[in-house]
Symmetry: C2
Subunit: 298 residues, 2 copies
């Protein structure tokens, strides 16, 4: 299984603080060591960083923890391989273009039995079940909006994303972050947590590192953002679990749509760490990185 | 206009030395300051780095000059905008997936009058003429190999790439690097140079920095690689200009295919630096970066 981190904000924000705690789970406080990825939208463009090393040991992850890239939508992923080799091609987020927008997708799940017919323009580059599911999801969205010359709006897409997710989630746990840079689409089968931050901003303390940050010093009265993660990244903040079968959409740091499909069920979690070596400490640790501690820095 | 750098090798190689000289042209020794990008294939996966800052001032470029990513095919691009804003979405290389392979494209040219019909699956995300040409090129390749379930081989693709390039090159200068990670396809309208390195390896001196490297210490008898660049990166090596209308393909550090289309002509070069501010020094300068000086390091 893997770890997801997503952020959506109403202004350009850097999440080096959250990423620092998150990246510790890539070998320092947890065993998600089979590569990682992080993507930032900057207007219509996006930058995607991948590495097949554990995030906690990756010079590129260290660089990103010190280099605040400001974005309204960020998604990140730590991989613990269940299907597919440890290689760059299998690192999330995956990306494809549709109607002039770059779509990104990161998944935490296990879709062993999902082998859909891919007869559209998208084929997996790597060998993960996640990329296969992403290709099918985009293929079906393209098919449903085949007459469009411009990208559909989030309120048109959301019911289709939810319905297609329900189909895929019959085959295994399917917790994902999906985005075109305008909206952040999320789905929960078994495990996904969401946190809304707005004025008044609290003092936040990372779960995975001995680190705290006064968010009120970093944010203004009108700032708001949503953070979505597999497990809460901070203590003393009101993280809320999504329900099984729940799909939520976020735009400009606000939830704008939600739907729960009662037919979806959570599958027993296959712990990929069983029987696989990991030399990490599995304890709360201070980071060795020099840090720029800021979530939203203007 | 822009600057291109491509590398194809018969084993995994790092080109931090070449990139150091190349990146200096992004604001230090030349005015290609409107962003840059660099991409590395690692098996079937690839990593693409973009920045809209000048390469000579970019912390990310500095990071890559110190972090040797080993790859058999690398392409890099320094942008001097002629069409499209200075933004991440307009930074080369551009990428699209076709039949499970990531295709990358970087261009130095100016295709003002090229506005093809895009009726396939690809649309530009940014606003450059280059990305438009790339979308059309891949669209036409898909169309010509529509019956394939597996990627065509380079010897099947090369004549089509050359023929489609000729069509595009009627509209303006079209010097490009194109790759799927297996072969490096190149086309020259006006300006592209190639260098083959193999045993015995020389001492190489960068044109753009006060830096030399004994390549024989870095490479073995069986190593061979090809470097393609808009302008020679080193002195004392046998760079060869491609002819106008020439298409060459490189695989495993060797030229495997070439064709010259005599109908192609070079257009007068529009110097985008005229009338635009640039505060660079325009002189041969030593770099401020701490460096790992190695082209191929095993």
């Amino acid at each position: 299984m893997c770890q997801l981190l997503g952020m959506n904000c109403n202004s350009d924000a850097a999440i080096t603080f959250s990423f620092t705690g998150f990246a510790a789970r890539g070998g320092r406080t947890a065993a998600h060591v089979d590569g990682w990825g992080m993507a930032f939208y900057e207007r219509s463009g996006c930058r995607v960083f991948h590495d097949d090393q554990p995030a906690s040991e990756s010079p590129l992850a260290e660089f990103l923890s010190r280099y605040p890239i400001k974005s309204r939508i960020v998604i990140a992923h730590l991989r613990r391989a269940t299907q597919g080799d440890v290689t760059i091609a299998n690192c999330h987020p995956f990306q494809r273009e549709w109607l002039g927008q770059t779509w990104l997708f990161a998944n935490n799940g296990d879709l062993t039995s999902f082998h859909p017919t891919l007869n559209g323009p998208y084929r997996p580059v790597g060998s993960t079940d996640s990329e296969r599911a992403f290709c099918w999801l985009l293929q079906e969205l393209r098919h449903r909006f085949a007459d469009r010359q411009q990208p559909p709006a989030w309120h048109e897409l959301a019911p289709h994303v939810a319905q297609l997710s329900e189909v895929i989630a019959r085959h295994g746990n399917f917790n994902f972050l999906l985005t075109n840079g305008e909206a952040l689409y999320t789905h929960c089968s078994s495990r996904l947590q969401v946190l809304q931050r707005r004025h008044p901003f609290p003092m936040a303390r990372l779960v995975d590192c001995d680190m705290s940050l006064d968010l009120s010093a970093m944010n203004g009265q009108n700032d708001r953002l949503v953070i979505v993660a597999t497990d809460p990244l901070t203590t003393d903040e009101a993280w809320q679990p999504l329900a099984t079968g729940e799909c939520r959409v976020f735009v400009d740091g606000e939830e704008v749509w939600r739907q729960v499909n009662p037919a979806t069920r959570a599958f027993p979690i296959v712990d990929a760490t069983i029987g696989r070596p990991w030399s990490g400490l599995r304890q709360r640790a201070s980071t060795a990185w020099p840090l720029l501690l800021r979530d939203i820095a203007r």
